[in-house]
Symmetry: C2
Subunit: 448 residues, 2 copies
């Protein structure tokens, strides 16, 4: 295999393209980067001789198939809703396909066809999902190999700002999709605790956070993800008693975010008519409804959300400018869209800022009538606001996997996520060169 096609040259493509261009010369790969913005694609491949940038409107089936037909392996970095069409083309044209996105039910249905044609369709091989699957399965398989039985699995991850660049009271900046941050947790979080199902509805999610210790980094907050049960089968943990996945945030974040939820600012169902004529003050005032509260806007909001007017939560809201008479910029926006627009400005990562990714897995397992707890933690910082840890950790696993695939080292065909040793072994090994090293602590659990 020689020809790699990368569809999409946006932010998530940079680390992948840089990695694979470096490998291209040694392995005689030829890299085609296709994007509707040809200048962007050109800038990403630069002057590398083993590559070209081409124009492609991926929504045009004929153009897309023409380009795909000339590749051996296709990486789709398109928006998730477009993966299905690309996957159907790859099946029809007999091409392998790789994405960092969640597998949709429709794509999953192509599994038999992919296997019949001996095609490799690897998905969820970025950071989260991606490195979380691989690092967890490596340890789960390790425990099983020595005869142990995993009884509890906790997995936490967060895209954060590094302490040296942390200069705002929320201790947070955007390093990934802001919309997902604003809408995070809407729905019902589901997990298992001591053999019993647990649900947390959105309205209680940011109140019921827990605290975790990250070695050398102190305590952090974790709120439950919606999908803790999703990978029970994929990880072979059908009989596990406790299974919990969560998102990591700085101390104080959840209480303040919960205030935004309580006020109503994360609602995305209904637009505020004429929002562009309002100030943030007007918006907050309107959310007080016909209330019994008295005093300044700040004092009344404090009463609404049951905190003191000089509390950290109110200070965070004030820092965002929510009590100010600045005009809202979004026209007929939902509260969530208005909030997103404000946070984009306030939580922007600056050119010299460093981001930080934290991931922690905790496994409890039984072996020879004893109980153990294994804690496995990754903390890794980016270089600056453009070359973030987040973008590196999404792009590098994709790149390493694509290299292995093109070198003929992957035998697992069909629609998959990276839970098998032939994938996580070499990928995680090579990622160590890039600083992806989990520190491990193990202890015996004694007493009750």
């Amino acid at each position: 295999m020689r020809n790699l096609l990368i569809i999409g040259a946006g932010r998530s493509a940079t680390a992948l393209i840089n990695y694979i261009l470096k490998e291209a010369k040694e392995h005689n790969f030829f890299i085609t980067v296709a994007d509707a913005d040809i200048a962007l694609a050109q800038a990403k491949v630069g002057s590398s001789p083993n590559s070209r940038a081409i124009w492609l409107d991926a929504s045009k089936p004929n153009d897309r198939r023409d380009i795909i037909s000339r590749a051996d392996v296709v990486v789709s970095l398109l928006p998730p809703q477009m993966h299905l069409e690309v996957a159907q083309d790859c099946i029809a044209l007999g091409k392998h396909m790789v994405t960092a996105s969640y597998v949709s039910t429709q794509v999953l249905r192509l599994g038999d066809e992919a296997r019949q044609r001996a095609l490799v369709f690897m998905n969820e091989i970025g950071l989260d999902p991606g490195i979380d699957h691989m690092s967890a399965m490596q340890r789960i398989d390790g425990i099983r190999a020595k005869g142990g039985k995993v009884t509890a699995f906790y997995s936490f991850a967060g895209g954060l700002v590094a302490p040296e660049s942390d200069d705002n009271p929320w201790h947070y900046k955007f390093t990934w999709n802001p919309r997902n941050v604003v809408l995070a947790g809407q729905g019902t979080a589901q997990f298992l605790k001591n053999g019993r199902l647990k649900y947390i509805p959105y309205r209680r999610l940011f109140r019921q956070y827990q605290l975790i210790d990250i070695p050398g980094m102190g305590q952090w907050e974790v709120y439950a993800n919606r999908d803790s049960l999703l990978y029970r089968e994929a990880y072979g943990l059908q009989n596990i008693k406790t299974l919990f996945r969560g998102t990591i945030r700085h101390r104080g974040f959840c209480d303040a975010w919960n205030a935004l939820v309580r006020i109503g600012l994360t609602d995305s169902a209904f637009p505020i008519v004429g929002s562009e004529k309002l100030t943030y003050y007007d918006l907050m005032d309107a959310f007080l409804g016909v209330s019994e509260y008295t005093g300044t806007l700040k004092e009344r909001i404090a009463q609404l959300i049951d905190v003191a007017p000089d509390s950290d939560v109110i200070k965070k809201l004030e820092w965002l400018g929510l009590f100010s008479k600045r005009r809202i910029k979004v026209k007929n926006g939902t509260p969530a869209l208005i909030l997103e627009n404000l946070l984009l400005e306030k939580w922007a990562i600056k050119p010299k800022d460093k981001d930080m990714v934290i991931m922690q897995h905790i496994f409890e397992y039984e072996l020879d009538q004893k109980k153990y707890k294994l804690t496995s933690t990754l903390t890794i910082k980016g270089r600056d606001g453009a070359d973030t840890a987040m973008s590196q950790l999404v792009g590098l696993p994709l790149g390493v996997f694509v290299k292995l695939l093109m070198l003929g080292k992957i035998s697992t065909t069909g629609i998959n996520i990276p839970t098998m040793p032939e994938v996580y072994g070499p990928v995680m090994e090579e990622l160590e060169q890039y600083g992806v090293v989990f520190s491990e602590e193990e202890e015996e659990i004694t007493g009750a």
Copy 2:
């Protein structure tokens, strides 16, 4: 005009078909009722000589257009998302069109074409929307005609159970779309109070209800609708200070419904995996999360929602069977779907039950330096569980309007809702024969 086509013979068609068949003989109308279920359409027209039932799959454009081309007036009782296609056919074929549904933005865009072709497209001419528009505009125009200026407008409506058939602790039964009842209020309610915008997010909606007096019927609860500001322009109330629309429920309903919201049972975003393997007990237990509460399930739920275990709220939940070990019937259902399925059984209207519709408008207006308050109230009961007040009040205004249109008495072309005197005058007058009589109280407002 002689030929009326009614597309859709379901529950909402009965009162319309019965009314128009009675009128058909006198006015020499010919009524065609089209439905994918030909037996249902046949049953609805019966043996009336001025009518026929035909088979129609409305999703097939050619069949649909063929049938529409032979009519003068088309009533669409199809699901709302299909109105656009029917409207486009009616424009192309030069037919008038009538619906009881909300006007969509896409349908609204056909306005110029409809006017150019002198076509009448009347929408929102059922009960709510429908009778609410007509009865309100009648009074608003009346106040204006004598030189008054409307400063506040409150409008409340509810589809309820009549006191003589009220035999459950919720004092509520379904007389219309159960899904809409379960999902009611999700989003942000918006209204005007003393010149200021007010928003109530879903999480506070059922807590911030108000009480209203219905003459002879005591006090009722009202929670805010999402759309209070929607008709400001249509009613000509651009400069009004207070504008509020709400839904009427029995005393005690909102607190108990708020408990369901707080527990998380109205969430429709995420399915509970394997819900068919759980009991209601398991579901409620799971919603307690990892909580600090102790005692029986009932006691722990009471603690979660801050009420006493022997409170009316808990009694209502218990009556629904939410603490029981009965198995849930819905497979992989969202909490909202599981709740809807349970309520369908518990809140079913029985064959001999009577329903009741209450509608109340309150207008505050200024006239000759004095302030007045006009309260206009309708309460009307159904005959039984099949012939409900709800279905009568949706079907009759449609029927009366269609008759007027076919007799050439409607001159307002384009896409409209029934806010004009030539519509509300004769329709409301004829509805009086069917018991649709608003009682009026007027008083001068003195003091502050």
